[in-house]
């Protein structure tokens, strides 16, 4: 464990590790997404209530799940960075943030597209939706703070503190928003109660979720290598990569 | 021994440029070290390293043989630091500023002691004037009054002669020398040449830059 943490501290070692892990995840992502897309768009049966509009679920749910996982990932990386002063962890957090924000936006976008045929509105102040919107703002805040500091060490630490405060807040927001809604009005829509899905529906969903995860990991590894090279650009080993 | 500050193999990097590396500094009671160097050679950065505000890119700093991060409280109890910006609140009077400074240092002082310290830096009559009504040099003198008010063995001063007039400079030189004689230690950056230059060690940064 300790040697591993110690090795993580070495950007060069991490760079090599990323290079080694990367291909597997790219291949997995490609296969899973391709199979998942074809299956879910063309082969899974239409929903008996929502018809073909439910096919949005195959991007909506993976996006919504990733939106949350990525933030947790960033928080873990931030904690590692603050505790062990491992710069690679901060680089990983930097690289994850835009993807997390994009997934949050995708979740919101697909959700509100889906809302029109099913609920008859683009937006409603439901608990889950509200929490998701706030999470988007948290992502943007993290990115904006890093932007405001520029690429330096000071900014990295500031962002790490904000990420950790933000992740503590996410469950609080979740519960408060749930309670808030029930304070005023009966829950308008429940997302969780739905007819049990047949396997022909949930298997492709699972494949899509795994595909999104693989893509996220592959992309993060790829961009992490970029980031490591950029920040270590004056070291000899990075210079040697240039040709 | 009150002051035992050692820096070994110290290095500092800013924006992909090594300001200095393998810097050695050993400070003991009675030492007065003046850090010299061209603009941008890393004097301020060195002081920030020595006070633990920046973390060195290589090398280590020790206080009485312990790493600075471990000996933080003891180190700070021995340190008097005056930076580029001296920590004088513009809206407060000289008296209020110093009362707060003393409390931060953990030292209890009477109002009379503060007045004495202010008199020492030539601010008699300005005790109750808000700092933003004072000139640039007068404001820095408020910070310098700490040297008398808060007794500390180690002084770290960044450009203490800035904006100080000729009398003030003579007084401050004298004060620094007498601190050394009393067994204190001083590190300061300055572009100014000392009268009693032989008492003062020089550390020259970035000779090549």
């Amino acid at each position: 464990m300790w040697t591993f943490v110690h090795k993580l501290g070495s950007p060069k070692w991490c760079h090599a590790l990323c290079a080694r892990l990367q291909p597997g995840f790219w291949i997995a992502a490609g296969l899973l997404l391709a199979v998942g897309a074809v299956w879910s768009l063309a082969f899974s049966p239409p929903d008996y209530q929502m018809g073909d509009s439910y096919r949005i679920i195959y991007v909506h749910v993976p996006a919504a799940i990733l939106a949350q996982s990525v933030f947790v990932g960033m928080a873990l990386a931030s904690a590692v960075f603050l505790i062990w002063k491992i710069k690679v962890a901060d680089m990983a957090a930097t690289v994850m943030a835009p993807f997390g924000a994009a997934m949050t936006f995708l979740g919101l976008f697909t959700g509100s597209l889906w809302g029109v045929p099913t609920w008859g509105t683009w937006w409603t102040w439901d608990a889950r939706l509200t929490a998701m919107l706030i999470q988007l703002f948290l992502y943007i805040g993290v990115i904006a703070l890093r932007g405001a500091y520029g690429r330096d060490d000071q900014g990295a630490k500031a962002v790490a503190v904000l990420t950790l405060v933000g992740v503590v807040n996410i469950p609080i927001i979740k519960y408060s928003v749930v309670w808030w809604n029930t304070l005023h009005q009966p829950a308008t829509f429940t997302l969780t109660e739905r007819p049990a899905m047949p396997a022909s529906m949930w298997v492709p969903l699972l494949i899509m979720v795994l595909g999104f995860y693989s893509f996220f990991i592959a992309l993060t590894l790829y961009r992490l290598r970029n980031e490591i090279m950029r920040r270590e650009s004056r070291t000899r080993w990075v210079q040697a990569l240039a040709d | 021994m009150n002051v035992v500050l050692d820096a070994h193999e110290l290095a500092c990097e800013r924006d992909d440029r090594w300001l200095f590396d393998s810097l050695e500094l050993h400070l003991r009671d009675g030492d007065i070290v003046r850090i010299e160097g061209a603009n941008g050679s890393g004097k301020t950065s060195l002081l920030k390293l020595l006070t633990g505000q920046l973390v060195p890119d290589a090398g280590r700093i020790e206080w009485h043989g312990q790493p600075l991060a471990r000996a933080r409280e003891a180190f700070r109890r021995s340190l008097l630091f005056i930076g580029h910006e001296p920590g004088v609140a513009a809206a407060l009077t000289a008296q209020e500023n110093l009362a707060w400074s003393a409390a931060m240092a953990g030292v209890g002082v009477s109002a009379a002691a503060i007045d004495d310290a202010l008199a020492g830096v030539g601010l008699t009559g300005f005790e109750d004037v808000a700092a933003n009504q004072l000139s640039a040099g007068q404001r820095r003198r408020i910070a310098l009054a700490r040297l008398d008010l808060v007794p500390r063995p180690l002084w770290i001063l960044d450009e203490p002669f800035t904006a100080i007039d000729r009398h003030g400079v003579a007084w401050l030189e004298q004060r620094v020398l007498s601190h050394g004689e009393q067994g204190g230690a001083v590190i300061m950056t300055t572009h100014h040449t000392f009268q009693a230059n032989d008492r003062v060690d020089s550390l020259i940064l970035g000779a090549t830059a």
Binding site: L33, A37, L41, A42, F43, S44, P45, P46, G51, D52, S53, R55, I56, V59, H60, A63, F99, A102, L106, F109, T110, L113, W114, V116, P117, F215, L219, Y222, R223, R225, N226, M229, R230, S233, V238, Q239, L241, A242, D243 | -
Partner: protein, 59 residues
């Protein structure tokens, strides 16, 4: 196969307006991130090479 014809597939049972933009944005994002990351890598390499040349010059 859940659709009878390719045009039925495109119409998505009347929900084309909702399904395709959702999938479209998802595809766009995935492809966009890949392209972005690759452009980032290319620019970085150019930068490193330029720096190498500069340092070779000055040395």
């Amino acid at each position: 196969m859940a659709f009878d014809s390719f045009s039925a597939f495109l119409t998505m049972g009347g929900y084309a307006r909702y399904v395709w933009p959702a999938w479209g944005l998802a595809t766009l994002m995935i492809v966009g991130f890949v392209l972005w990351a690759r452009r980032e890598r290319r620019q970085l390499m150019q930068q490193l090479q330029r720096r190498r040349r500069r340092e070779a010059d000055s040395a």
